[in-house]
């Protein structure tokens, strides 16, 4: 598989990871790649740890990404970024929101939310971009636009023209949210 890339999108069920993977998947098909996108439906979606794989290349066989295989990890939440870090290639890039959502063991007091996660992630020596995505999404008009802010950040890393991204985004989100999402994308891309 030459020139292709493996992208993982991780977060908490309900954060809008599916929209991000659909935008990415459709864009890559239009760019002429073979693409596979693997999603999580059902029970795991209910506030659990969710992961979506997007793989593209001349020909893609397996729809899943395994440990040490991701070129990019797009993380919607900090603990999930840390959880899926082993999936990053040693020369891959982590793009993560610093937003923290407490999982149930933290809520019940069974275990603490790990301290200084940002520092610990950086200390592994991986290429990590840890960003206050939530503030930018709020600036764009809704915390729900965090997914599109992250896509904006990713778009700078990939060799696809901005107009192509925006065209697919426009076709994927409901009409009344187009302006909001374009703004969110631009804020992410400007980082």
């Amino acid at each position: 598989m030459s020139k292709g890339k493996n992208i993982m999108i991780v977060g908490v069920g309900g954060q809008g990871t599916l929209l991000a993977s659909r935008v990415l998947g459709n864009l890559l098909v239009e760019e002429g790649w073979d693409v596979k996108v693997s999603e999580v439906h059902g029970m795991s979606q209910r506030g659990g740890s969710v992961v979506t794989y997007v793989k593209y290349g001349e020909s893609v066989a397996s729809p899943v990404i395994e440990q040490g295989e991701a070129d990019y990890i797009l993380a919607f939440e900090l603990l999930e970024a840390a959880r899926f870090l082993p999936y990053l290639k040693t020369d891959g890039t982590l793009i993560a929101s610093t937003q923290k959502i407490a999982p149930m063991p933290v809520i019940t007091g069974a275990s603490p939310y790990p301290e200084n996660l940002e520092e610990k992630i950086v200390a592994t020596g991986c290429d990590a971009k840890l960003l206050d995505v939530l503030s930018l999404a709020q600036q764009a008009g809704s915390p729900k636009a965090a997914n599109v802010v992250l896509l904006g950040v990713l778009s700078k890393q990939m060799d696809i023209a901005q107009e192509r991204w925006l065209a697919v985004l426009e076709r994927t989100v409901p009409p009344k949210f187009i302006e909001l999402n374009k703004k969110a994308f631009a804020l992410g891309r400007a980082l």
Binding site: S38, S62, P105, A110
Partner: protein, 581 residues
């Protein structure tokens, strides 16, 4: 133009293109989107049936009536539909009939990891297994043709990874298929012993024909590569193996029952080491061993869970992944009930009252997890009511006052009603809670007979849970808002104390349902909060425990359901807009 399509959507598209005219299913992850997607095509009649058995019988009836028909279900749904399945094998079809069954290796959303290929073997049916969305579409179309050619229902076996992965497909137009003529034929369709004996002969002859056909059909394919490693595989496992060992030789099976013995033997002869790579049970492996072939299978690969290119590279090449990670263990993030979920108040109350709770299948199975921890058993659809009945009969009348069954609205219709009749008929005194959130929730909001809407959203007759319970012989039926905690507890106390069967319907719509009003988020006044943790007992994802030993509400998650204010003895929780005096 090629486009990305979910495996399940590709199956639906294939059925549409093949002129399928009738679809009946019960939702179940990972199969649900097949039927949901089909319902968008006006050329195809589709419906949600009350359960998989009804769906399969309806699909068989449509087939006998001359239409191409389909039913889709998850692996455990096939257990429910097994009764008509085995005899549909005897009757055969008129219009082509396809049974889509989606296994769940890794149990992403299921209570077990059974392998539905055993059903194809047991019922002596043809089973096809696609490995990507393109094949999902093509195999579905082929399945209709084969069903009519061999006069048999045909299985299409999926797995979570195939169902829920998108890959490229090419679409073709809809093909209109004329309704076949229906001719009365009791020898074929009335399966009493005299006729069934004759049909069993037909089934065995058909098995021979199918086995002979599968040797040469183009759904099974050999790709020669390096002949030192030969791999027999199918479905998702093929894709993993192809990625791990792109240069090996492959026999990719599109037909997983009956298996092509000659083709397998020919392939085995021409490779040095033969591997069978299959998720779940060693079905192909055992077939190979019965043919006397030397083969490596489950000695290298697990019987458990989902495979990946990594498990295969490790199993064959002993290769390990290179990666970075944090050294400390991280807290897990299991699924949880949503903020504002109507099940939360009910489970909080059951936990508080210390009851033994017989649970069922749905979002509300999450009531078993901490801190609610309010469930003692979960087995299968409907088992809450009947298992409680057995438990109470075994442990005596006193246990009936200390235990309840909890079942959702859709699950109650699916297979809870018969359990309830077991109680009334056999002089039980149990209390059953029907948690009615006005939708089939876990599978992603499908309508059901109690919602008053069909699969396409048209208004229809709304089955009344109250009336069903009363007709089954339950005189005491009470409807309660599960967010009214004092009343819920009071009703439970009353009903548990009374020595006759009772049903409590806790009614409040799913908070995620379109049109359900959400309220502004609440906030916790830090000065008023005494840090008693009472609100934390709800296990609401929106309430977090701060470093200051006080609770706080995450305003991005809170939907203002008001449950936590009922927990707070100090009046510290307020609607956000309410200014403090």
């Amino acid at each position: 133009m090629k486009q990305l399509l979910l495996g399940n959507h590709a199956v639906a598209r294939g059925a549409y293109e093949a002129g399928c005219a009738f679809v009946s299913s019960y939702p179940g992850t990972p199969s649900t989107e097949v039927t949901e997607y089909i319902s968008q095509f006006s050329e195809v009649y589709s419906e949600w049936a009350p359960n998989e058995k009804v769906a399969m019988e309806a699909a068989l009836g449509a087939s006998i009536g001359g239409a191409r028909s389909l039913t889709a279900m998850k692996h455990v749904g096939l257990n429910v539909a097994a009764d008509p399945l085995f005899t549909a094998s005897y009757t055969g079809v008129n219009g082509g009939m396809v049974i889509v069954v989606a296994d769940d290796p890794g149990m992403h959303s299921s209570q077990n990891e059974q392998d539905s290929r055993h059903y194809a073997i047991g019922a002596k049916l043809l089973m096809l297994e696609p490995s990507d969305s393109k094949e999902c579409l093509e195999f579905t179309k082929a399945a209709f043709e084969l069903s009519e050619k061999f006069d048999t229902p045909v299985f299409l076996r999926l797995s979570t990874r195939i169902s829920h992965s998108q890959s490229k497909v090419e679409l073709s137009p809809w093909q209109q298929v004329a309704l076949r003529e229906y001719t009365k034929n009791p020898a074929k369709y009335v399966m009493m012993p005299g006729n069934a004996k004759g049909r069993h002969v037909v089934v065995e002859e058909r098995q021979q024909k199918l086995a002979a056909w599968s040797e040469y059909c183009d759904l099974n394919q050999i790709t020669w590569g390096d002949r030192s490693i030969g791999i027999i595989t199918s479905g998702a496992a093929y894709q993993y193996a192809k990625e791990a060992l792109p240069n090996a030789s492959f026999l990719k099976l599109g037909v997983v029952n009956p298996l092509p013995s000659r083709l397998i033997t020919e392939f085995a002869r021409q490779v040095e080491t033969l591997y069978v790579i299959e998720e779940l049970d060693p079905v192909i492996e055992q077939h190979c061993k019965a043919l006397g072939l030397a083969v490596k299978g489950k000695e290298c690969f697990s019987l458990l869970g989902e495979y990946s290119q990594r498990t295969i590279a490790k199993g064959i090449l002993g290769k390990e992944a290179q990666s970075v990670s944090l050294s400390e263990p991280l807290p897990v993030r299991p699924p949880a009930m949503c903020p504002g979920c109507p099940h939360r108040g009910m489970f909080y109350t059951l936990h508080k009252m210390g009851l033994t709770v017989f649970g069922d299948i749905g979002c509300y199975t999450l009531g078993a997890t901490p801190p609610l921890s309010a469930m003692d058993t979960t087995v299968c659809m409907g088992a809450s009511i009947s298992a409680m009945h057995g438990f109470q009969k075994a442990r005596g009348q006193e246990s009936a006052g200390k235990s309840v069954a909890v079942i959702g609205d859709s699950t109650f219709i699916h297979s809870g009603i018969t359990g309830l009749i077991d109680i009334t008929y056999n002089k039980g005194i149990s209390t059953v809670i029907v948690s009615d959130n006005s939708i089939t929730g876990m599978t992603g909001h499908q309508d059901n007979p109690t919602t008053g809407k069909t699969i396409t959203g048209e208004p229809t007759y709304q089955v009344s849970i109250e009336a069903v319970c009363q007709a089954a012989g339950v005189k005491r039926v009470t409807v309660v808002d599960p967010n009214d905690l004092p009343r819920l507890e009071q009703v439970l106390t009353t009903e548990l104390a009374i020595a006759e069967p009772s049903v409590i319907i806790t009614r409040r719509p799913c908070i995620l349902l379109k049109g359900v009003q959400k309220h502004p988020p609440y906030r916790i006044d830090k000065d008023q909060c005494k840090g008693c943790r009472a609100c934390m007992k709800l296990g609401c994802p929106a309430i977090v425990w701060g470093a200051d030993k006080k609770a706080a509400i995450d305003s991005t998650l809170c939907v203002g359901c008001d449950l936590c204010t009922q927990m707070c003895a100090f009046g510290a929780i307020h609607p956000q807009e309410e200014k403090q005096a």
